[in-house]
Amino acid sequence: MKEGYELIYKKPATLTERRFSYCPGCFHSTIHKFMMEIVEEMGIQDKTVGVCPVGCSVFAYHYLDIDMQEAAHGRAAAVATGIKRVLPDRIVFSYQGDGDLAAIGTAETLHACNRGENFTFIFINNGIYGMTGGQMAPTTLDGQITSTSPYGRDVDTAGMPIKMAEIISTFDKVAYVERISCNTPANARKAKRAIRKAFEYQMEGLGTTFIEVASNCPSNWKLTPEESLKWLEDRVFPYYPLRVFKDIKKLKKEE
């Protein structure tokens, strides 16, 4: 460190040196960094095992310097269940997109939550299939244009965008559910706090923790990163509000 300088920011040592393959402005990079900062701050690198999905974050293990398993599309919750059950003292998370968690893997997701599997879901909801080039997701908004809904999502035939955080919060054995975003510095700080809280609840053995990220996809939304943040404010948050949907500790206090 140069004399007279103060270190105010650094990349966590728990991220590898590999450059992210994510598009500019995408929240994947931000969430990856938060998760690995938390792993470093909590000193749990040797205890953390992650599961990556099929989707843009299929390569997450290139960047996160922790043990990881690559799951089949939609099966991350089942894979994480298998890991956590045989290694109950480890911190296990699944990192999944909306197609993975809320379409092809809905059964695995719901049943893991219903059993209260003691791991953390990091659910990146960007309303679109990113990796395959911008097709309609179960979370695509009413009227939103994608490559498979070129005239806008028709909710009469495709159904309404699915609200996973709301659904997950109805399960008795789920400990914590929050929807977060990273569109402003304030929200980004809240997002990191939420992820840390989920890991802490997991360490206490409280049950399933579920963090939904109201995320963006500038490339497939055909917007600049800045415009994508405005889209989040104008279109996404009114339908997908940012808030805590369940906190088992607060519920216990209220009782």
């Binding site: 690198q45 040797d46 205890k47 953390t48 095992v49 599961v51 299929v58 390569f59 293990y61 310097d65 922790i66 043990d67 990881m68 398993q69 690559e70 799951a71 089949a72 099966r75 089942a78 894979v79 994480a80 269940t81 298998g82 890991i83 956590k84 059950r85 045989v86 290694l87 480890r90 059964a107 695995e108 049943h111 059993r115």
Partner: protein, 352 residues
């Protein structure tokens, strides 16, 4: 010391898995093998294994992936339609090199089929079933005793070669009761430095994946798998011969149908017909070379494959015989077990 017990095949294999050091079981009920999960559920309080009745076979096989990848000795059991659902996980585990034991207690198909015994899943078991170039080691037990012995063997082979290993049983072997010598429990100490147990300072991170996006890397992965399969082919072929030494007619059968053929061979011998049974025990790797060598013997007049399907293993017999002798087939389908009488009649018809 081994214990002598009278047990149902499904329960015996469950008990064998416990004694072989199984640390986690994931399954979904399906006839005719639900006794396995029922037995394991009843025994669970006395042991230290993880047991989950999953929401589907798809979930079960992916739980197997996760826990096998985390270093545990793991097993699932199912029957035909369930095994079809599991093919996704089998392909992924074969590529990611995750050891596990799979049991398919086969019932009649296709589709929902019947709940009666069948060998209709032979192709699916030995030729792949899932996508991509892979094999799993396939064992074909023909008795309750072998349900037990093959479970021990399957766990050992899975760990040795880092691969899924399966038992291709059938509804009858799962349901029937026989005398069985149950081995003493072993103390299983996993030695799996590749498992995802948490990256410690002294090692690089462990990644279990079947994704190699660059074709050059994917080809390298395939070459590694193929080298392993070659090693398995060289070392692990198992078979049983019964009265083949002077046999003129070689009847090839595996699993339950081999028990029927054994009776037929005895009957034939009484009648002065030189029948012999060749029973592949490993269905992959298949004893092609051994059958090929027998086909070269001058005394041998023909081969006949007897199966509980429309003729699946017969293709491997033909490959092995390679045109040196005629290869015939006799089988029943859809959950029908051929009788010794009709099997014998089919053989005699070909003898002429």
């Amino acid at each position: 010391m081994a214990e002598v017990k009278l047990m149902k095949g499904n329960e015996a294999l469950a008990e064998a898995a416990i004694r072989a050091g199984m640390q986690a079981y994931f399954g979904y009920p399906i006839t005719p093998q639900s006794e396995v999960i029922e037995y394991l559920a009843a025994q669970e309080p006395k042991h230290n294994y993880v047991l989950i009745q999953a929401e589907s076979e798809l979930a079960a096989v992916n739980m197997l992936y996760g826990s096998g990848g985390a270093g545990a000795r793991v097993m699932t059991t199912t029957s035909s339609p369930g095994f079809t659902l599991m093919q996704e996980g089998v392909s992924y585990m074969a590529c990611a090199e995750i050891p596990c034991v799979l049991v398919n207690v086969v019932r009649g198909g296709p589709g929902l089929g019947t709940i009666q015994p069948s060998q209709g899943d032979y192709f699916q078991a030995v030729k792949g079933g899932g996508h991509g170039d892979y094999h799993v080691i396939v064992l074909g037990p023909n008795s309750v005793q072998e349900m037990v012995d093959h479970i021990f063997l399957a766990f050992e082979l899975a760990d040795k070669y880092l691969t899924p290993v399966m038992l291709l049983a059938d509804g009858a072997t799962g349901q029937m009761m026989e005398k069985v010598m149950m081995p003493q429990p072993i103390e299983y100490k996993p030695d799996k430095p590749w498992a995802t147990t948490g990256k410690t300072k002294d090692r690089e991170r462990n990644i279990l994946t079947s994704l190699y996006i660059q074709p050059e890397d994917m080809e390298q992965r395939n070459l590694k798998l193929q080298a392993k399969y070659k090693e398995i082919l060289a070392n692990e072929i198992r078979y049983e011969e019964y009265m083949t030494e002077d046999a003129e007619y070689i009847i090839v059968a595996f699993g339950l149908s081999s028990r029927i053929v054994k009776n037929v061979v005895l009957q034939g011998r009484k009648d002065g017909l030189k029948l012999g049974l060749f029973r592949p025990i490993t269905l992959w790797p298949y004893p092609w070379d051994k059958i090929g060598a027998i086909a070269s013997e001058e005394r041998v007049k023909f081969f006949m494959s007897v199966e509980m399907n429309a003729g699946q293993m017969v293709e491997d017999v033909r490959l092995a015989v390679c045109g040196k002798k005629p290869v015939h087939f006799f089988g029943r389908m859809g959950g029908i077990v051929p009788t010794p009488e009709e099997t014998y009649a089919a053989i005699k018809e070909k003898i002429g």
